[in-house]
Structure formats: structure tokens, C-alpha cells
Amino acid sequence: MRLAFPHMGNIYIPIKAIFNGSSIDVVFPPLTSQHTLSLGVKYSPEMACLPFKLTLGNLIEALELGADTVVMPGGAAPCRFGYYHKVQEAILRKLGYNFYMITQDRGIMNMVKHLSNGASLWKVITALRFGLAKLKALDELEQLVHKIRAIERDKGEASRIYREWTRAIDNAADYQALNQAKREHLQKLMNLPTVSSPAPLKIGVTGEFFVVLDPFANMDLEIKLGVEVRRSIFARDLVSFNPFIYAFGLREKDRSHKAATPYLSRHVGGDGRQSVGEKVLHARDWDGLIHLEPFGCLPEITARNIMPSTKEWLPVLNLIYDEHTGKVGIINRLEAFLDMIQRKKRGRVAVCA
């Protein structure tokens, strides 16, 4: 069996760790690129959303590399994501690929059984734990870099260390190596020369899961921002059905759901409710919020209709992504948004004085 997963940000690193010790051969398609997107767009229904097109492109590239089994998460959900695998399977079969698709539609136990390939339960749990440790390390690293990027003196240094650290996490073979990588790079990151004034803006980033987490999909938004990014959506939320992670991942989500209740009292699928909640929750402590979504995202459109009506006031910039690649358009709008917030902040200071 040659197994393949679609990409989403760095998620391939923990997946690689999980399957490293097992007898399953895992094929990783090349990191999402323009070519992936073109492939996906070519074969997808035109109105499918960006994550559909990107994951389809990944799967095609993986099958070209000789994968014979692909994993595509699914399941019953109000968002289109639950339906992806059915259409993608039909598209890939039409293209003439022969493969088996594993989805949680056929039951989570079936999925685990297939993926464990007869390994003992103990081995499965050990591998899972190590994978999750890597996932946690990656998320922590990202959270740290979000802060450093805003205050570093030489722009781009933090991102460089971030890439190095990510590679080190990927290469770590055991917990010791993982900790070693952390010690080394944390030192480097903390020793970066910083500027202390003016205090960086605190901008929240929220929205649809995939676009928030995948730097290719959001065109490296966080690097371009150059402000302190606050984000509560992390890859570990994805495995929140997992009892190990449950306690970490859901706490923030629950809080924002509660905050959204006066405006959106129901779960609308995807991260719609969380988007509304974050605006309400952080109106006091953030300077602005950037809301990302792929074009046509059902839950986020509902959220975007509700967001302007909240009593809590926070500037929000909506960025909608599709297969067009106009990076400059994104940069322009980010600049205008940040300028506006900065001017507003200065105005407030002047009044106080």
C-alpha cells in the first residue's frame, strides 16, 4: 500500500511522523504550488471552493507519484467539505487513476484499521502520540513567531528561523531530538535584535480553517502583515476529536462560540460561528481582525452577514480567496487596512494628551 494525503500547511510533518515507524509507504505530493493549483482548477467543478481545488491538485500529483491509496477526510457536516471526497473520487476515477480512497464516511474505526495495517494497538498509540507532539511543537512555534515577526529589527530573520525550526521538527526522530531543536532555535529566536517602539499592532486572523492554515492558499498573509498576529485557529483543532488534544484545542473555540451566541446562536458548520465570536470576544484587546475565506464558503458568508451587526466594535477586513493569484491586490488592501488602524490609533492618543 502506498498512502497519500493532501497538503494543508505543515500538517504533513506530523503525518509523516505517525507513519514513519509503520510498514506503510507514505507518498507525499510536492508542496502545494502553482502547478498544483492549475491541475486542481482544470479538473474541478468551476464553483467548488479553493480548498477543493488545491486538495484535488495534491491528490493528482500524489497519484502520479504512484500512490494507490489516498486519504480524504469527510463526514457529515453542513460545510461542503464533507462532500469533497465523493466528487473528488469521481473526478479521479474519470481521469483513469486506480486507487482506494479512505474517508471517515465509512466509519472512523474502519479508517484506523486501514491505516494501522495490522500494527499493534500499542504501536499505533505510540506513533500517534509522537505525531501529535510534533503537531503541538509546530503550533507553539508558529504562535511564537507571530509575536517576534512584529518586533524584529531585520525583517525576515524570524521567518528564516521558523523555516529552519520547522525542518528540524520534521527531521526529529524522537522526543529528545524534538526538544533539542526547540532549545537551539528558541535561543536564536529570542536573541534576535528587536525594536521596542512603536508598539506593534495586534491583528487577529480568523476565518475558514483551510485558508487560514495554508500559507499557499492565503498567499503568506501572516508574513506580509508584519504586525503581531493573534490567531486561535491551529492545526491541532483538526484532531480535537482526539482525547489527548481535546483539552487544549477546544477551550478557545468554546469561548468564542459563547461570545457569538447573542448574534449567532446556532452552529452553522465550518468556522462561521467562531469568526463572529472572535470579533465579539476580542473587540477590546485587538486592533483589527482579518477574516479569510475561500470564495463561496457557506458558513463564512453567513458569518460575514452577521459580523457588521455586533455591538462590539472592531475593524474587520474580509479577504476572499479563489484561484486568482493577484498577490498585489492582497498587499494593497492589507496596507490600506493597517494604515487606517494606525491613523485611528494615533488620533486616539492625540485626544488623550
Binding site: P45, E46, M47, A48, C49, F52, A76, A77, P78, C79, R80, G82, Y83, Y84, K86, V87, A90, I91, K94, D105, Y263, L264, S265, R266, H267, V268, G269, G270, G272, F295, G296, C297, L298, P299, I301, T302, A303, R304, N305, I306, P308, S309, I320
Partner: protein, 335 residues
């Protein structure tokens, strides 16, 4: 008497007889908004973000037209009417969204219909609506039972007598719907059978679809709609094509599409709106199936706010011409 407003959009075509019976049993008066107009669409569009889908924009227009007409507006959040099968996000958040974009609307009667939460929660949800009219749970129960019976009659009227929802609504209630004509007179000379698939709020809203059914009938076509297939047949068709349904109204698209592609129609036309999430994938499944089978012609029409009827007419004419030519050729081959 309390007046309950029901917008003539979205789920109206599926559940109106049920809702009407329920509220009238509880002693309320039901006010329905008038059929969609261009003004409603324009007003609705001005309230929501631009990439909201057309049916929701129209829904907002209908709610706006009801603002001064009633004491309450009934907008249920229909989450799930089948086990582990969910509705589109826009339906789930519909009451909250309406409240946010139309702050001047009368109080919204909302309730969560979700069969996954169990029988008790479902009954409680119904009671929650009824509580606005009476404290007596038995009265609500009676109204609920009558409403369910009305719904079953309505479904039967459509699947057994081949009526479209507006015709059936006209039959069960006294409102003069669109054109109260019997289905047979237009079909007497029918030669071609065209099956329409899509959500009822697209097929039967004459403003959205530019009087599509009327045009088909004028072209002497017999029109079949998803409601004319029994639930069992629809479920069977879904099982054949995609296994298990994921969306609440998947049977109207995938189920009916697969059913009509296999049998009973000379051509199938799928109607969807631009930006409809579920349809963008479901219609694609039907289109793929049509290509695979290669027997029944299939056309997918995507509608949006445009007002250019000619585009719709041209495509319809071309499609019908193609079917007619195909039929002639078949006859010729037989001879």
C-alpha cells in the same frame, strides 16, 4: 388575532401547507408575502453581502415586504430532517442572519429542527413555537399532528397526481396560486418529456427562473419535477449514485437527477444558482453521471440576478431542438 408572516421563498414550497395548518390550528392568521418581484430582489440584495446566494437575497426581500404586515415572522432553522444529513449553512443560520441584516423586522419565531437530537428535542422545538399562542401543550400537540397530516397529504398530492408544489398549494389551500390550471390540458399534445431538477425555491419562483416551467409548457413539453418521484425511489437513486446523502435536500438534485437520467425523461435540466455551495458539487455529480450513461441529454443552468431572459430562452431552445433532432433520428433508424 396574531398575524404570522411567512416569506414566499426558500422552504415555503416544501412546508407551507404544514406551517399554515399549524398556525391556523393555534388560532393565528397566516400572511404570505406576494410572489417575488424585481423590487424585492433589489431590496434584499442591498441588505446582504454581495456573494450571498440569490435565493437568500430574495428571502430577505420577502422578509422586508412583510415588515409592516405581521406581528411575527416565522423563520425556522431547519438543521436536519434525516439522520446525520445536514442542511446548508445558510439555512442553519437563517434566523440569526435575518435578525442581523433586517433589524427592523418584527420578532422572529425561530426554532431548531434537528432530528439527530432525538424525538424529545424535536417535540420541544415544536412546542417552543406553539408556546407563543397557547400554554396548553395538548393544543400544540393537536396542531402539530394536524400539520403533519396536512404535510403528508400535500406530498401525496404531488407524488401521486403529478402536481407541482404551487399547483398543490393552490389545491390544498384557498389561495389563488399562479395559474390554477390542471396539469393535463397543457400536456395533452405533449411530445417531449423534460425533467427539471433543483431546489423548489428555484424551480417554482417564476421571477428567479424567468418562468421556466411556463416556457417549457409552451413548447409542448411535459414537465417532470423532483416532487413527482416518491421518496423511496429518490432514496434508491441516491444510494445508487453517491451511497449516502450528506445534504438535506440532496434528493431534489442527486436523487431526482439520477432517477430521471435512468428513466422517464427525454432530457434533464438542472437549475442552480451562482455560488450555491451544495449544488456546485451535487450538480457536478449528476453531470458526470449523465456523461457516463450517455443516454439522456443533460443541461445545467446557473441563474443569478441577471435580468437577461434571452440568454435563458436561447439555451432552452437549443436544448429542446437537440432533443427533438435526436428523437427524429431514433425514429428514422427504427424504420
Amino acid at each position: 388575532m396574531i398575524k404570522i408572516g411567512i416569506p414566499r421563498a426558500l422552504l415555503y414550497f416544501q412546508y407551507y401547507p404544514m406551517w399554515k395548518t399549524f398556525f391556523e390550528e393555534l388560532g393565528a392568521e397566516v400572511v404570505v408575502s406576494s410572489p417575488t418581484t424585481q423590487t424585492m430582489l433589489a431590496q434584499g440584495s442591498s441588505r446582504v453581502v454581495t456573494d450571498t446566494c440569490l435565493p437568500v437575497k430574495i428571502f430577505c426581500g420577502h422578509v422586508l415586504s412583510l415588515v409592516n404586515e405581521c406581528d411575527y415572522i416565522f423563520i425556522p432553522a431547519i438543521r436536519s430532517v434525516q439522520k446525520r444529513v445536514y442542511n446548508c449553512s445558510k439555512f442553519l443560520g437563517l434566523p440569526d442572519m435575518t435578525r442581523a441584516v433586517i433589524p427592523e423586522s418584527p420578532p422572529i419565531l425561530d426554532t431548531d429542527i434537528d432530528v439527530n437530537k432525538g424525538r424529545h428535542r424535536l417535540y420541544y422545538a415544536i412546542y417552543q413555537v406553539g408556546r407563543h399562542f397557547t400554554r396548553n401543550p395538548f393544543k400544540v400537540k393537536r396542531a402539530g399532528q394536524a400539520a403533519w397530516q396536512a404535510h403528508l397529504n400535500y406530498r401525496q398530492l404531488m407524488s401521486h397526481q403529478g402536481l407541482t408544489p404551487p399547483q398543490a398549494i393552490g389545491e390544498v389551500s384557498a389561495i389563488p396560486e399562479a395559474e390554477p390550471k390542471t396539469p393535463s390540458d397543457s400536456q395533452a399534445s405533449a411530445q417531449t418529456t423534460i425533467a427539471l431538477i433543483g431546489h423548489p425555491y428555484l424551480l417554482y419562483d417564476e421571477h428567479i427562473n424567468h418562468r421556466f416551467i411556463h416556457r417549457l409548457e409552451q413548447a409542448h413539453c411535459k414537465v417532470l419535477t423532483p416532487e413527482m418521484v416518491t421518496t423511496e425511489e429518490l432514496e434508491l437513486a441516491i444510494a445508487r449514485l453517491v451511497g449516502r446523502a450528506s445534504w438535506t435536500y440532496e434528493d431534489e438534485v442527486v436523487g431526482a437527477g439520477e432517477h430521471y437520467l435512468q428513466s422517464g425523461a427525454d432530457g434533464v435540466i438542472g437549475i442552480m444558482t451562482f455560488g450555491c455551495g451544495p449544488d456546485s458539487l451535487m450538480m457536478d455529480m449528476v453531470r458526470r453521471q449523465a456523461t457516463r450513461l450517455g443516454t439522456t441529454p443533460f443541461m445545467s443552468l446557473t441563474l443569478e440576478e441577471h435580468t437577461a431572459e434571452a440568454g435563458v430562452i436561447t439555451r432552452l431552445e437549443a436544448f429542446l431542438d437537440m432533443i427533438q433532432r435526436k428523437k427524429r433520428r431514433q425514429v428514422a433508424v427504427c424504420v
